[in-house]
């Protein structure tokens, strides 16, 4: 109940000055103490040892339906069920699994999705009826609103993609049953995402669960005889395979085409970003970059492509979320590789299924902070979004300025470790300024945010004297962040009032090392 959650909550102030709870859903938590400040101890989490004696020698692990699979995997009240978002808003598997659990009479489940989408809105009913106790994972749209209003029984816990791997690997969270949607699988449980009617690209988000969960169920609508080649999920980690008619709606899994923004302001921002990358000297032979599938990011790829052609340089690798725009770079020889975490459109899915230079990655290789390095810090420039950024370059991606929890973290926090982290943002959205004195929720500390690009100009973090020196003589509008902020405030009628928020936490934001970087507070009606 929210009542005992309030009663049991004590707070400390972390190194960013944010008040964070010392326990989260009954487990002690550490406050954020600075980037790289918290050293992990101990060994990785281990799932129970299994024996081949308990699995069919034929390798056929098929069971008739999800209910049977859940029963075999020890479904009981209070267990944690995980699902993954590689089918995005087309996913049918998460709701099927939770509904099957409800039919079996389970209560107080914890749902741990790698991300949630609008198609998961019915989980609200399952929380109301007591089947699901709370969600630990990104909460968007209606689920975010439900959590923000304080209706959820437990605290929401938001992690980055890398942070989710870290938490599972470190044993910070335990997954009882992982349910993995597989566009192609064999009866042994080998599974892959690049082929089949529901092809979605990489299954990387499910990889940690397949390794560390007590039990693993693979659900597929494209069963092939052993072996499923290639396989990203190893059947040796899988308990049961369930065949269903459809794991998702293909039209919502990937978009037919992803489209560059038509907004003149956003196109201008994208052009500034590309010129910044060029003028700062980042655009050179063998460089690398990452940009997502948002309108500005796609327009950036469009601009940087032309600059690469003009300058006669090629990238060693680009990081997905992949789209047709990245695939074009690969096919035109402008990059040697696409290292892909998530595949957004049909061109991307076709490419990852057919071109060996288009490689599926996982949060382990890309993002996990508790590993021996990861790819994110090796990327020369990354282009990201945010809802707000403050004059100290701290940035928020999870809440809106009114305090409502509306977005997940995704790979955003992990990407901040790149050589040059660029936030590409309109300077205001429907009157709401993006540059503020203090962000509502710190999702990333300012020391890792290097550049803010808006349609009114570009602010470089004063820490990055190297970038500022490289930009000497550039005709780009480089301006102090405070100056851009004042200009916007003049137009929109001053800085926004601070929204009045309740004193009860509804969710916490984890940093990539498992410490708590900020708290999300209840938004009163």
């Amino acid at each position: 109940m929210s009542a005992n959650r309030k009663a049991s909550t004590e707070f400390v102030v972390n190194s960013l000055g944010r008040r964070v709870p010392v326990t989260v859903n009954g487990t002690p938590s550490r406050p954020f103490g600075g980037v790289g400040a918290s050293a992990p101890r101990g060994s990785k989490h281990g799932p129970p040892v299994r024996s081949a004696a308990d699995y069919p020698e034929s390798g056929d692990k098929r069971v008739p339906d999800l209910r049977t699979a859940l029963e075999r995997c020890g479904l009981r009240d209070g267990v944690t069920i995980s699902t993954h978002h590689h089918l995005r808003n087309g996913d049918r598997v998460a709701m099927s699994a939770l509904t099957a659990a409800a039919e079996l009479g389970a209560k107080d489940l914890m749902w741990r999705p790698s991300a949630s989408f609008p198609c998961h809105e019915p989980v609200i009913d399952l929380m109301e009826s007591g089947v699901v106790h709370h969600i630990e994972g990104s909460m968007n749209g209606p689920l975010g609103a439900y959590c923000s209003r304080g209706h959820m029984r437990g605290l929401g816990v938001l992690r980055s993609h890398g942070g989710r791997w870290q938490a599972i690997q470190d044993g910070e969270v335990h997954i009882d049953i992982a349910v993995i949607a597989a566009p192609t699988a064999d009866p042994f449980g080998n599974a892959d995402g690049s082929h089949g009617p529901s092809a979605c690209g990489s299954l990387g988000f499910a990889l940690a669960d397949s390794i560390y969960a007590d039990h693993v169920i693979v659900v597929t609508d494209n069963l092939v005889p052993f072996p499923c080649v290639p396989w990203q999920i190893q059947g040796n980690n899988v308990d049961c395979v369930v065949e269903v008619d459809s794991i998702g709606d293909p039209e919502k899994i990937v978009s037919g085409t992803t489209v560059v923004t038509k907004s003149p302001d956003r196109l201008l921002i994208a052009e500034y970003v590309a010129r910044f990358v060029r003028d700062a000297g980042i655009l050179k032979d063998g460089f690398s970059f990452q940009a997502g599938a948002g309108g500005i990011a796609l327009a950036f790829v469009h601009c940087i492509r032309q600059m690469m052609i003009d300058a006669g340089v090629r990238a060693r690798f680009v990081r997905g979320g992949s789209t047709g725009y990245l695939v074009d770079l690969l096919e035109e020889g402008l990059t040697d590789y696409i290292l892909d975490g998530q595949t957004f459109d049909l061109a991307g899915v076709q490419s990852i299924g057919s071109d060996p230079r288009h490689v599926a990655t996982s949060p382990f290789t890309s993002y996990n902070y508790h590993g021996k390095g990861n790819f994110a810090s090796m990327v020369d420039a990354v282009v990201l979004g945010a809802t707000e950024v403050d004059v100290n370059f701290n940035a928020n991606v999870v809440t809106h300025s009114d305090g409502m929890l509306l977005h997940g973290i995704g790979g955003w926090q992990n990407c901040l470790f790149s050589g040059c982290t660029i936030l590409a943002l309109p300077s205001f959205r429907d009157r709401i300024p993006v540059i503020v004195d203090e962000v509502t929720t710190i999702t990333g500390p300012g020391e890792l945010v290097d550049v803010i690009v808006t349609e009114r100009g570009i602010a470089v973090n004063p820490r990055r004297t190297d970038l500022l020196a490289a930009l000497e003589g550039s005709d780009l509008p480089i301006r102090p962040i405070e100056e851009i902020k004042s200009e916007v405030e003049l137009l929109v009628g001053g800085p926004p009032a601070k929204p009045v928020l309740g004193d009860e936490p509804v969710a916490v934001i984890k940093w990539v090392d498992g410490t708590i970087v900020d708290t999300v507070w209840r938004v009163p009606k």
Binding site: D430, R431, E455, L490, V492, P496, A497
Partner: protein
């Protein structure tokens, strides 16, 4: 039109952004009650109410019921919508609902400044106006005429007037296209005190119309006739009669800095189809260029209507420059750069022109009557053209200036 005592303004609906819908009911007593529903209520709710109160107080409205459905409008838009609704409700016209000026007044622009691109901004769509200057057009046109529905003329007037006070359009020349006369004369009352740099008169057909606007501008500003023009004028010739009178119109007032043409209306008037290569308007455009140059004014071409066809735009603009035009209209920011590039002299042209100017200056210094470049003699008109080209190139920032 609204019933007496009640007025509405702005846009209702869920797809509205950066705008609002206002209902004002004038009442006999009880002060002013304001009900605000806004997507930014927790951040700007108090500000919305304060803007509303200040606007009504300025208009002399003491008792009213106001309902606001806001979708993230900035203050000058809220003020414009509240004023429009109050006037529609029957509030007395004597008040002043203008928001405080938040951009400083600037000196009037130069007569012969670059006018390569002028970006059309529908007067009743404030969202498009907020960032227009950032895209670097030589001019913005806040339009009260064709892009505004006849029922919203009063609303657009309020938005544009307030935008002139509150939006920083950067280096762009601030232009307003008034309505066709005589309605356009009423627009002047609201526009002229805000000192736009230039007014466009649509469907100009006679010199008298231009003179009438010029006179009215001076009356509103209480400036004597005959002095330096306070606001520039660019007549738009859009009819066969207008084209025939081009020279008279261009010379009707020293305020006329440019003539431009509206090809949609012109081709309709001729009863011909407007084509991509534009041969049907060749005569009109040639006549207009000649008339403009005859009085030392600029000739500015029409707009290119297909935003998606950048190649077509470049081709049109290059041909337009060849005819003697110095710029054209834009209906989308993405047309600005192709137009600037098309109207820019090439590097080779600039270098040759600079060499001619240098040779001329050298000849002057030596007291020689004949300018020569290498083995060739350069005629005076060639020198004149070269000087003009260097001037334009310098304004466009195409000539590297030695550090001063």
């Amino acid at each position: 039109m609204s019933a007496a005592g009640r007025g509405e303004a702005g846009r209702p609906g869920d797809d509205v952004r950066s705008d609002l819908h206002v209902i004002v009911e004038l009442t006999d007593g009880g002060g002013t009650e304001i009900e605000v529903v806004s997507k930014v209520a927790s951040l700007y709710g108090a500000s919305i109410e304060a803007t509303t109160r200040a606007t009504l107080a300025g208009l002399g409205v003491e008792h009213a019921r106001v309902r606001i459905d806001d979708k993230g409008a900035v203050p000058f838009v809220i003020a414009a919508r509240v004023e429009t609704a109050a006037l529609r409700a029957g509030a007395g016209p004597g008040g002043d609902g203008r928001p405080n000026r938040s951009v400083p007044e600037r000196p009037r622009t130069a007569r012969d400044r670059l006018r390569r691109s002028r970006l059309y901004l529908p007067g009743d769509q404030p969202k498009l106006q907020l960032n227009a200057g950032l895209h670097g057009p030589d001019g913005v046109i806040l339009d009260l005429e064709d892009s505004v529905h006849p029922a919203q003329k009063d609303a657009a007037r309020m938005v544009v007037r307030n935008a002139l006070r509150c939006v920083d359009f950067g280096h762009a020349e601030r232009m307003v296209r008034i309505n066709q006369l005589p309605l356009g004369l009423d627009d002047l009352v609201a526009m002229v005190p805000e000192r736009p740099d230039l007014l466009l008169i649509p469907k100009a057909e006679t010199a008298e119309q231009v003179a009438e606007v010029d006179t009215r501008i001076r009356e509103i500003l209480a400036e004597p006739p005959g002095g330096d023009p306070p606001i520039w004028i660019m007549p738009i010739l859009e009819t066969a009669l207008g084209i025939e009178n081009a020279f008279d119109i261009a010379g009707a007032s020293p305020a006329v800095v440019a003539l431009t043409i509206g090809l949609e209306d012109y081709t309709a008037d001729l009863g011909v189809r407007k084509t991509l290569e534009g041969s049907e308007s060749l005569y009109a455009r040639g006549r207009l260029v000649n008339a403009a140059r005859a009085v030392g004014a600029q000739a500015i071409d029409s707009v290119f209507g297909d935003v998606g066809d950048e190649e077509g735009l470049r081709t049109w603009a290059a041909r337009s420059r060849g005819l003697g035009f110095e710029g054209m209209g834009c209906i989308h920011p993405r047309q600005i750069r192709p137009i600037h590039e098309a109207f820019a002299p090439s590097q080779a042209e600039i270098e040759r022109a600079m060499a001619i100017v240098a040779a001329f200056e050298e000849a002057e210094a030596k007291g020689l009557g004949v300018v020569s470049l290498g083995t060739r003699m350069v005629d005076p008109p060639v020198v004149l053209r070269a000087q003009r080209l260097v001037h334009v190139a310098r304004q466009a920032g195409l000539i590297e200036e030695p550090d001063s």
